[in-house]
Amino acid sequence: MNYSSMMLEVAVVVLGLGLLLADLWTPIEKKRNLGYGAAIALALVLIWSFQWKPVEDSLQSMYVLDGLALFFKRLFLVSAIVVLIMSVEFAARMEAGISEFYALILFALAGMMFSASANDFSLLFVSVELITVTFYVLTSFQRNRLASLEAGVKYLIFGALSSAFMVYGIALVFGTAGKMNFAGIAAMAPQLAGNKIFLLGILLILVGLGFKIAAFPVQMWAPDVYQGSPTPATAFLAVGSKAAGFVLLLRVLFTAVPEVAAHWTTLLIVISIITVLYGNLCALPQRNLKRLLGYSSIANAGYLLMGVAALNDSGKSAILYYLGGYVFTLLAAFTVICVVMREVEGEDISALAGLNQRSPLLAAALSMSMVSLAGLPPLAGFFGKFLLLKAVTEQGPVNSAYYWLAAVLVIGAVISLYYYLGVVRAIYWSKNPPKATSICVSWPVQIALYGCIIGMLYLGLFPNRVVESANRAVAALERPGPMTAVAHASGESR
């Protein structure tokens, strides 16, 4: 195994350890600023990541560094940077140990970055567990808040339960295939396609991954945990953890068992339909903003699963693009929530009343993210949904169930308009905005918000480059020699 290709992850882990060390020498009142330091360091790592090219020779190893991996690593880095800035903002609401919070974020980030490269069930397991275990702590970090503890416990039990499913699935797969490596299993898969033990194993693994992305039938935890966790942890959970789940899902389904995936069209379609409808319908009467986003995250998992269910390249690249937009959108939303809810306990939507007078920037950022989530142009969400819709419709002639999928996408998008625009309404035209004290927004948060807004707009208005790079990244998944295609594509950049 070529360890030099892991330098990005190593850098992140070292950074985390260094942060813990630095904490020892930092005076208490300055500790929160360590977050900025970490964010800057991550920004450097991000810039560094653009120097990397996809590496060819790692197909048989447990760790690959193809275009897909790089795409997701950058996604994770971006989200971690914003989450760190958010955490600094959140520091005052933690009892102690803010540096550990930062460090845990970094470790979770490392786990996500590993997961992006996982090409082997053991690495998959380890990286997933790295993410999950750090999130146990992150979700329950506000030990003085019962809600946070409850969220932590729920996440703990569900995480452990799904880990158990996954591990057992891995055991079954290993038992039938005799291999842990995706490529190896792919080679074996044709003769295993009818083996029920093997299929059971794959299904159990998918259950474990479904937990990460909050898809039916393992979606129940999401709203509760989203609501109770500290906002930065929620944000990271919603963005990073979900994206990690998807990259693993893509790899397992399309690298390890493409034949099996092709058989499960109906299953995937049904699951994504139920997920979309469940998330959207439950969100309809919801008044708690973070819980709303929890349901919305379920719905979005459903949309993304549609890209998986489409089983074609455009579906996969749509997932990548959608996640790209989703990252900026959700980060913007959670940053705003983090800042606005600083003063209000409870995250009721009515707390947003008159936000446009208190801080136009926050109001604009939150409404733009809602508009983007609702899938309206000119923001990223629109083009993402467009790509998904295209991918799904493309399969229509093959199996008319895809048309139902497309219809559900539309229905979901329309239902979601109602509650997303409800948020926008609360911001701009509430009946009686309570108080007009302006909210002070620190400049790093401003930078983060502007960054997210620019990201949403850029992805929405000039999607060309991201679409191209997503296409190239996806090309790596299925081909027998995936690296060659990517290597030829010069100038891999975002």
Binding site: E129, T132, L146, V153, I157, A160, S163, V167, F174
Partner: protein, 101 residues
Amino acid sequence: MDVTLEHYLVVSGVLFSLGLLGVIMRRNLLVIYMCLELMLNAANLALVAMSRYNGNLDGQIMVFFIITVAAAEVAVGLALIVALYRRRQTAHVEDLTSLKS
């Protein structure tokens, strides 16, 4: 009587199911948590047996990973449950319903 792979697998399956049942049925968080560990160990048993049967060591390496991870998980999980117990003076799941609908 020879102890074949099937026996191991049946035992592991039974263990897994027992753990699962426990998670669903038991009311105490600690017990639930122990049941979860039981499920993990069921997987461990299966892995080791499979590894032996397949004649490669990957499975056993995996078991080590799992044990390590489980240890970490237990550490974090127990700390969490203790913290909750301190605050609520109870470790029953039915009391944990403030986040809902």
